[in-house]
């Protein structure tokens, strides 16, 4: 017990000890997606679906939950079932075998929902484009709201994109601005 406590004290807080996402490429999230994400400003529950990625994107998604990135501090949770999810994060080109399960998952996710295509493969099939076993990028099968490019995107970049998604005015702030008479 003493050893465990000593270790924890020695380690201290590591959250946030990561290099910032390379600047220059700013993530632009469509205003329509921001509008849809209004409901999930403070709490966003994500279900991750792998439809044929090389598993690097999965490793980066897993890294988001580690003490260094700790996305729970931003109100983002990972759900175990699509029925509990607000957003689906889809990685990989959609393979011919995963097309059915992906559509099933989309159907079982309650509305309103967001779909985030993570990584180059999910956005445009990447290097696997055209293969007989790949039936197209994610948006060919289900509507995609947010695209996070990269092969794979760094965790810091994913965090930046998710923060960007939940920025901007909400109905409440608009209303508040109106009644307080601010311009």
């Amino acid at each position: 017990m003493f050893k465990i406590l000593k270790k924890s004290f020695k380690t201290g807080i590591v959250t946030g000890q990561y290099p910032p996402a390379p600047s220059g490429q700013k993530f632009s999230v469509a205003p329509t997606a921001q509008k849809k994400a209004e409901l999930f400003r403070r709490s966003l529950t994500i279900r991750e679906v792998d439809t044929g990625s090389c598993n690097a994107c999965e490793m980066e998604m897993n890294a988001l939950a580690n003490p260094v990135y700790d996305i729970e501090r931003l109100g983002i949770h990972i759900a175990a079932s699509p029925r509990h999810a607000d957003a689906l994060v889809v990685t990989g080109p959609v393979t011919v075998n995963m097309e059915g399960p992906l559509k099933d998952v989309f159907k079982t996710t309650p509305n309103p929902k967001l779909v985030i295509a993570l990584g180059d493969c999910a956005i445009n099939c990447g290097i696997f484009k055209g293969s007989y076993a790949v039936t197209g990028p994610v948006d060919q099968h289900i509507p995609v709201d947010v695209r996070i490019p990269g092969c794979p995107p760094r965790p810091a970049e994913i965090i930046e994109a998710l923060t960007e998604l939940r920025k901007g005015e909400t109905t409440f702030t608009r209303w508040f601005r109106k009644i307080s008479g601010e311009p």
Binding site: T51, M59, P101, T135
Partner: protein, 532 residues
């Protein structure tokens, strides 16, 4: 003094006329035999006390358009000297049938099913010829690796007909528990079907290949020097291992001499990859027993190693580091010494954590005697890598068939005989320390010189090469055959996961379902590398 034993001469003396021709390519003997002689010869190689060959790879090649024939290749690793031996046979013209070796050599099971799906060649006498890669909804007669099957054909997903194709056990009180393809955690898709009576698992049926992306076919559209980009993306966690194996195969085809500095750097990066994956796995295994503390510490340490990778190469996964002929990145000496200092700190940190893990009684209780893979079972199925070493299979390519700079480095191979989850954790922990030691040694002895060798020859169409690397998971094997105009005629990729997945079905029997995630994580297999 005892006379030197020559496996090929020995086989020739026994099988004589059955062996048509013996050739040697890149130092690997190839026995060309008649199709009807495959079973007796392979069985002899597998069972003979002096040879004790394990099937390391089994693959087919469609030789069209040049020749109207299929070739079947069986690669054996002989236990005594870790030598390779290939048995090869031709299926001429319209011949589609050959004799299955699975009833005698269990390791051939998935290979023969894969060949049936990809080439339409049928192994007669195979006990279980269900579809493997092609799921039930694929149209009949589609064999993607046929030379006349266009790589960009369009296959539409259709509702699978009727019930699931599986092995079922019926009886009172026997239940089936289907899991997947989409799982609860952030992991890859795969379908597991457990049959249980009460708590213990009676049978596990795996259905994989959900992520089949047609990698081997895509390779055939690449040139030899461009294929490395695809090899980088076969299995993200083994990015460097796969690209290294691919590059070595091309280098052997083009007769490229890789400079010493590049070989040392390759070993360094391979150890870094082993390190971040093993640390992550130790944490993941602890997490599957709900020991979140160890998981948090391990994922923190893993993140540090991945940031080191990023700092050294600009990629957290070491992508784009390898190139044909050498490596594309030359980290300055200061960065390397900083890396070693940081790794020493990480090792100290990890050792403290090990002490905490080692005295946790509830953790050890879950680890011990869980998911035992016996040595004989592991040997029968040709299990490789960490899982094999934990079950008493003393094989490590870094020592047995040195590649990169391992001929000049001495690797201490970890091992255990217990074959349970604890043994696999212990082997991983030992390898973490060994990797850090090796990286230190490489940094101290890193020679100067060029980073890239130039090529000597243009490979003839039909020339082939085999390459093997001990990745963090186990042996990665590539077979590469050159095509016209420096293209690729055939590239067979084998991730260690492909061999180890069938073994997990045997390791779980008698365990309870709540222990399955733990056993699965202790095997830590790739779905992407398996499905291709």
């Amino acid at each position: 003094m005892e006379p030197v034993f020559h496996p090929v001469e020995h086989l020739e003396s026994i099988f004589g006329p059955a062996i048509n021709r013996v050739s040697t390519d890149h130092g690997i003997p190839v026995l060309h035999v008649n199709t009807n002689q495959i079973l007796p010869i392979t069985r002899y190689i597998h069972g003979n006390e002096k040879l004790r060959g394990t099937l390391s790879l089994l693959w087919a090649v469609d030789r069209r358009p040049r020749d109207l024939r299929y070739e079947l290749w069986y690669l054996f690793t002989l236990c005594e000297h870790k030598d390779w031996l290939i048995v090869s046979t031709d299926l001429l013209g319209d011949e589609r049938l050959y004799e299955s070796i699975t009833p005698k050599i269990h390791a051939a099971n998935w290979y023969e099913r894969e060949i049936r799906d990809m080439f339409g060649l049928i192994a007669q006498g195979h006990p279980d010829l269900r579809r493997l890669v092609r799921h039930n909804h694929w149209p009949k007669g589609v064999h993607p690796l046929h030379k006349n099957f266009p790589w960009n054909s369009v296959l539409q997903w259709r509702q699978p007909p009727g019930s699931v194709d599986g092995h079922f056990i019926h009886g009172e009180g026997v239940f089936e528990v289907p899991v997947g393809p989409i799982h609860a955690g952030i992991i890859e898709p795969g379908h597991f079907r457990f049959t249980v009576a009460g708590e213990p698992i009676m049978h596990l049926d795996l259905q994989h290949f959900w992520k089949h992306r047609g990698v081997e076919k895509l390779f055939e559209e690449q040139t030899l020097s461009d294929g490395v980009v695809l090899a980088d993306r076969i299995s993200g966690d083994t990015t460097f291992g796969h690209s290294l194996t691919y590059c070595q195969a091309v280098e052997s085809l083009m007769d490229i001499h890789v400079p010493r500095r590049a070989r040392y750097l390759r070993s360094l990066f391979l150890e870094l990859e082993r390190l971040h994956n093993h640390i992550g796995d130790v944490g993941g295994i602890c997490n599957d027993t709900a020991y979140a503390l160890a998981h948090a510490h391990c994922s923190r340490l893993k993140e540090r190693v991945m940031q080191l990778n990023d700092h050294l190469t600009g990629s957290r996964f070491l992508r784009g580091v390898n190139c044909v002929g050498g490596v594309g990145i030359d980290p300055p000496a200061v960065q390397l010494s900083d890396t070693v200092t940081e790794l020493e700190r990480i090792e100290k940190d990890f050792s403290e954590l090990e002490q905490i893990i080692a005295v946790n009684a509830s953790l050890i209780d879950r680890f011990e005697n869980t998911g035992i893979l016996k040595k004989q079972t592991a040997w029968d199925h040709g299990v490789v890598g960490v899982v094999g070493r934990a079950s008493g299979i003393d094989r490590d390519l870094r020592r047995d068939r040195p590649f990169a700079a391992y001929d000049e480095l001495s690797v201490r191979v970890a091992g255990s005989i217990n074959g349970d989850v604890r043994a696999r954790v212990q082997v991983r922990m030992a390898e973490i320390h060994e990797s850090i030691r090796l990286i230190g040694e490489i940094q101290r002895t890193l020679p100067d010189g060029p980073l890239k060798g130039s090529r000597q020859v243009v490979p003839d169409p039909g020339a082939w090469a085999l390459s093997a690397v001990e990745g963090w998971r186990g042996e990665i094997v590539y077979f590469l055959m050159a095509g016209e105009h420096e293209g690729i005629h055939r590239c067979k990729v084998r991730d260690p996961s492909f061999v180890n997945w069938p073994a997990i079905q045997l390791a779980v029997i008698g365990n309870i379902i709540p222990d399955f995630p733990l056993i699965n994580k202790s095997f830590s297999l790739s779905y992407a590398g398996n499905d291709l």
